[in-house]
């Protein structure tokens, strides 16, 4: 991994070009996959058999909802890995991975919450439910927005990386605890170990085309996540290099 000062080794021109082409291929694949997802979600997937009217049409939001939550989860998991590896190795590249994945994670997490809220209205006649997954996603969003705000307030590059990695560690650790708390919060009877709360899904039967669409959604959002992450990560590298160059000139 190249460091952020110009005097150290930088990626050679041929390597840069092949990286660039690689990213272009990835982004094309992403756009194709997202297009396929739109088609699948709106047309290919058969309507839910036990629902009717607005609820049945709105059920199609489900595919985007699931896709974005998978992407968000991978993003935040990667941010945990990035934080831990940075704290061990002190390679700023890993800190950039953390920051980029948190940003993409926030976009995807916000998508999840938005999709969930809009889907709730025709299904349960309310925009907001304290459904454990939506509650956890929202609080997770707040956690990671705080991460970005925190980073913003620290000027020294290494200190920023170190402190925000420490916070990212705590943030990730609190998510499973928040999930279980939220799950128990609304249930009248104590421990519910087996299976998901059936109410949470809006109770519809998942047919074959729906399952296939779900796979397409997962794939498309993973590709989207990768494309955005790699681009942002490289952009952060460029930003750090410019900072170093600026300092050299002064």
């Amino acid at each position: 991994m190249s460091t952020s000062t110009l005097t150290a080794t930088t990626t050679s021109a041929t390597r840069q070009r092949s990286n660039h082409i690689g990213w272009l291929i990835l982004s094309t694949l992403t756009m194709l996959a997202m297009g396929a997802l739109m088609g699948a979600a709106l047309l290919y997937a058969k309507p839910a058999t036990n629902l009717a009217g607005t609820e049945q049409i709105a059920q199609r939001i489900f595919y985007l909802h699931i896709g974005s939550v998978v992407g968000a989860f991978i993003a935040f998991l990667l941010s945990l890995i990035g934080s831990i590896v940075y704290l061990i190795k002190r390679d700023l590249d890993w800190d950039r991975v953390t920051q980029a994945s948190v940003e993409v994670g926030i976009i995807l997490g916000a998508s999840t919450t938005l999709a969930g809220a809009i889907w709730s209205k025709p299904t349960w006649n309310t925009y907001w439910t304290w459904d454990p997954r939506i509650t956890t996603t929202t609080i997770t969003l707040l956690l990671y927005i705080a991460y970005l705000l925190f980073r913003n307030g620290i000027d020294n590059r290494q200190t920023r990386a170190r402190f925000s990695s420490i916070y990212a560690l705590f943030a990730f650790l609190s998510v499973p605890l928040t999930y279980y708390s939220a799950r128990w919060f609304r249930s009248i009877h104590p421990i519910v170990f087996n299976g998901a709360n059936p109410d949470a899904q809006g109770s519809f039967n998942i047919g074959a085309t729906m399952l296939q669409t779900l796979w397409v959604a997962t794939l498309a959002y993973c590709l989207l996540f990768s494309t955005l992450l790699i681009f942002r990560w490289r952009q952060l590298r460029l930003q750090d290099r410019i900072e170093a160059l600026r300092e050299e000139l002064e």
Partner: protein, 46 residues
């Protein structure tokens, strides 16, 4: 139907907003890089 449209459009807007932000930032950074490179070559010539 409006809900479906709202959700799909909303999600696309979110992602597009981020993509546009990335694009603008990239433009800014490349501009900065150019001006710094020029400053360096000027420095080198002196």
């Amino acid at each position: 139907m409006t809900f479906l449209a709202a959700a799909f459009i909303g999600l696309w807007l979110l992602v597009m907003a981020y993509v546009i932000y990335l694009g603008q930032r990239q433009g800014q950074l490349e501009q900065e890089l150019h001006s710094l490179e020029e400053a360096m070559t000027d420095r080198g010539r002196q």
